[in-house]
Subunit: 646 residues, 2 copies
């Protein structure tokens, strides 16, 4: 599908001949850390030729629509997270901090990043991180020094970001598979749902006697969630015309926000309920007065040396979080289902993220990073889709045939540009002015509980772990033969997923404690778990059915120095060699790979196959042949059984 | 489908040789009113042989499940309507009145009716009727005499019921088509949704300062609605096992009711909200003390003669309502999709309904009648379904074929019995005792708003008018060729449905005024509108596609004296005869009949065709041949165009 729609224009990037490789070099040159700046250098060289076109390609209707959509989809959660942070840091982070940070990130990344489609802003996780640090300083009696401490955490994070980028360490993102990235998505979804409930609970607690407003808030939050959900899903129906469907889906957030904000101001019993609204603040000034010079700058130099170093591990934890969070959001924003033609640049963007960390840190605003559920929404908004109606013939029994006209949606092209990102930056700057802050003040806080539910539920609903769970609960007779999971035993699928459900549960649990800043460690620990342990517990067929590399698009892999071989294949290769040297090549097992369930477009399978063939193409062509034949006679399964359970 | 599953047991009724016919008689015998008691007599003779089996067939698991389900599905709306009636009659009708009336109806109809599957109880329309009469008496300054007046209305209604039954007037129900019965369903659905909102609004108004409880009530009502809806729809999914699905769907109301009643008692902020609950009343006594002898009997003899006669037209309006409402509920409870074998008896049941009207009237409880959305639910609960998994082959494009295992649900048999109805009667009697009244008192009234939403929405969601509306809004390319509506112009469908939307809107509007008791007139006026006017405005093809007789099962038609010819056919026949006498038979157009949209089982088409062939079978067999051939060459359409628009 993608190959059909991808427009092979003259200016599209030729990733096959990308010089950023590590597999064609020998000696000390093979070691990434020994060749600093190589990733950054090639990221810039790769992307710079497209810089001018990034502006020209943005002058069209679709980009304007995408601007409005992404501004709302970024703004509303940012405000929601800010409310959460404000509550938990006793007012240190206010609404202006959130807007300033979002604006800063948007300006920097829209102008300078190699991947302008990846929108950068405030996530729920930085909120969690910031208030956990607050809790720690409070527990240590250092709450007065919180601004300086959080500034130093940011400074250390900036330094470790730069180190990561300079020494080409972003390359290791290519090892991330859906096993951990989907677990991360599930974790984020669950945290957001909890945040939504916390926001509603706060309506009951924060001032005395708010019980009435609390119940009305529940009504508004549920109705807002239902409205946005319904509007976004109208796009998938067959109602009205494609144009109407698209507009309603694109503007789901603005429509619902305006509607329910208006609703919350209906005089009478609704205004009597005294709903809590977004706090009104002074334009351009931080929420609380700061001791440093100027209104914003934190006097980070006024901190005792011991605490500067205590901030270091926290800074490293933050880098771990952003390393995972920011890069995964970039990967999903440039995933294979979008027919992108311009090259990616992860090293340079991570270096840039270090810069925004530093800047945001010393002016005391929450640190921005790539938005995990929203980044692909931006690319999606920039994508020109074509709806094709195909007559699907349904055979009921053997005789009757029913023609069902079915909608097939094809991505024709993506408006790859930095205009929408930049206009969003301007919008955020505008929102920091007095009049627009007053407009924000009219919004009831209940709306943001609805935003949490919407964003969180989207992350849970479309998750592979949910899909696998539904598969396991479904009555077996209804599973389609075409679903590769039917070739596995249900018990094995359950075991596979239980390992990461355990990781998600542990992360959610730790997030409720003062140890919350440690949650990135658990998520990142899933990568070696998958890479080392699971490879030994599950067969090649099981892993290739249930898992797939997250970074799967060529334009992404170019910046990572190519795709690594999967560990279960390497292991199988090694064992085969030991067992029966001289027989047919163990590589053959690789041919069995396929998509990972019914939620993923089956079209991917073919392309993945093609690429892996290409990759192996420069070796013995006979291997490719035997690869196919082994799978055809089912030998893969038999040998895998042996490998997986021995 | 039905013919496969219908078990042709020895005891099943042979409707073809039913002697209750009017088309094989001549002279004065043709006139229904001249042969009183004929319908009642044959109803009893037809059903009596099955009486013993009605008890024996009820001793099984399915009947027990059906008992629990129908008791809840009857009880909860009855309580909801009672709350509505109580509010609008300033307390005259209380909870005991509702239980007494339901119990009375259930005892009488389970023991004596010819159609024990038709559950009889309190509907929302009798609530509307009763409080409108209350408003009228209040406007006339006769509010003290309301008990006597409403008793006389019931007495007159009873008399007119008996007259209707004795003079075989129920036969005219066979003229009812989906045109009016679906409009009636839509009207009931809309009224119920309004009642749900009114119930919630009442939580804000009834006592001072109930705003908090009001908002909590909205939350509970919405969550209750969502729970019941989700549980009932689990049956349609492919999750779990058929057994689990069935149990969850069967017990949706009990599960959700227990859950949310429990929720409403959680100490803390929920109990602080002071939710309104079902009022606690004295066991076995009416809500207010009555002047007559004994606690219940109304002294209806103490009313001035003028008002006794003023009650007459109101009694007739009530009879009109019940004539339509009760008989339609019986028809839907015995519709063609249920493989029923025991014969129906409409005349006798309507006579019996007159008796319960009389009894309920003089003891001052709301008058029971057939429950429109619930009666088919009862039959459905008594039906043994079989799930068959069929491999549906989907052809995408020309080459690819995908096998999708699809669930086909077949009705195997119906436990046709009076045990569940009788046990429900006992349950209602039990609920009138002190301890169980206390249990009812624990239920928050918000639950009943949820019940209104659930029952009302079910009526709207599955309605043919909704389906047509969705069809009109759907993008045209997605309409299936198999849908007969694609052969009509969208504008004609719109005009057809607008006429009855107008009727529904008028009925809903009048229901909000003091003229509300007149609403049955509007609904019933749709029958002659369809029968006389629409026949002249729309072509035979249009009407046969968009409309179908509501009474379509043979066991029902036996009690109505057979199916009438459709008026558009009669008209076409007459005109054809005038235009081109001597040419092929105009009857031929009849062959073009088919189902009326995608919501109705296509299986009906074939059977209707078969039956109409049978009916014409004793005439010239050549006519049947030509009927088919005319349709085959599309002549029907051409001549209909001419007929429809001249």
């Amino acid at each position: 599908m993608e190959t059909l729609s991808r427009q092979q224009t003259a200016k599209s990037y030729d990733y096959a001949s990308d010089p950023y490789r590590w597999d064609n070099v020998d000696g000390w040159r093979r070691y990434r850390v020994l060749r600093p700046f190589r990733g950054i250098y090639w990221d810039i060289r790769r992307r710079l030729p497209y810089y001018w076109s990034d502006w020209v390609d943005g002058l069209n209707y679709r980009t304007m629509v995408a601007t409005i959509r992404i501004t709302f989809v970024n703004l509303l959660p940012a405000l929601a997270f800010q409310l959460d942070m404000r509550r938990n840091t006793e007012g240190f982070f206010g609404i202006n901090e959130a807007l300033f940070s979002s604006a800063l990130a948007a300006v920097v990344f829209s102008l300078l990043s190699a991947q302008p489609l990846t929108v950068v802003g405030i996530t729920g996780l930085i909120s969690l991180f910031n208030y956990t640090v607050y809790d720690i300083t409070k527990a240590q009696g250092m709450v007065d020094q919180y601004p300086q401490i959080i500034a130093w955490v940011a400074i250390w994070a900036a330094v470790t970001h730069w180190i990561t980028a300079i020494f080409n360490l972003c390359d290791y993102m290519r090892y991330i598979t859906d096993y951990s990235s989907e677990a991360f998505g599930m974790y984020v979804g669950i945290i957001y749902m909890i945040k939504g409930v916390e926001e509603l609970v706060a309506q009951f607690y924060e001032d005395a006697g708010q019980i009435t407003g609390g119940y009305l808030s529940i009504v508004i939050a549920l109705c807002y969630w239902a409205s946005v959900y319904a509007l976004e899903n109208i796009g998938k129906t067959k109602m009205f015309t494609p144009w109407v469907r698209k507009v309603l889906a694109d503007f789901a957030y603005p429509i619902a926000t305006v509607w329910w904000t208006g609703f919350s101001h209906i005089p009478g019993r609704i205004t009597e309920a005294n709903l809590m609204r977004i706090p009104r603040t002074r334009a351009f000034y931080p929420a609380v007065d700061r001791p440093g010079p100027g209104p914003w700058l934190i006097d980070f130099w006024n901190l005792e040396i011991a605490w500067i170093f205590i901030s270091l591990p926290m800074g490293i934890l933050l880098t771990l979080l952003f390393y995972y969070d920011h890069n995964v959001s970039s990967i999903t924003a440039q995933a294979k289902q979008f027919p992108l033609t311009k090259p990616a640049g992860f090293h340079w963007d991570f270096f840039l993220l270090g810069c925004t960390c530093f800047a945001a840190g010393i002016i005391g605003v929450p640190l921005p990073n790539g938005l995990v559920p929203q980044a692909p929404v931006h690319t999606d908004s920039c994508t020109v889709y074509e709806e094709v109606v195909i007559d699907r013939k349904e055979k009921v029994g053997d005789s009757e045939e029913n023609v069902v006209p079915t909608k097939v949606v094809r991505a024709v092209e993506v408006k790859e540009q930095r205009v929408s990102h930049f206009l969003m930056a301007l919008a955020f700057c505008g929102l920091m002015t007095g009049p627009l802050l007053d407009v924000l003040h009219t919004m009831p806080r209940a709306l943001f509980a609805g935003v949490f539910f919407m964003v969180g539920w989207a992350s849970i609903e479309g998750n592979q772990m949910t899909s696998n769970l539904m598969y396991l609960f479904r009555e077996h007779v209804f599973n389609q033969q075409a679903d590769p999971r039917t070739r596995l035993s249900k018990r094995r699928i359950l075991w596979h997923d239980l390992t990461r459900w355990f990781g998600v549960a542990a992360s959610v649990a730790i997030s409720q404690t003062i140890g919350a800043i440690g949650f990135p460690v658990i998520i990142i620990a899933l990568i070696p778990l998958r890479w080392i342990i699971l490879t030994r517990l599950f067969s090649v067929e099981e892993l290739s059915t249930l898992d797939a590399p997250t970074a799967n698009a060529d334009i992404i892999l170019a910046s990572f120095g190519g795709q690594p071989e999967r560990p279960e294949i390497v292991l199988a290769e090694k064992r085969q060699k030991n067992c029966n040297a001289g027989q047919e090549s163990p590589k053959s097992i690789a041919g069995g790979f396929s998509g990972s369930g019914d939620d993923h477009t089956p079209g991917n399978t073919a392309s993945t196959q093609e690429r892996s063939d290409e990759q192996f193409g420069d070796r013995n062509p006979g291997q490719v042949m035997s690869k196919r034949s082994l799978v055809a006679r089912g030998g893969g399964v038999a040998s895998n059984e042996m490998l997986g359970h021995e």
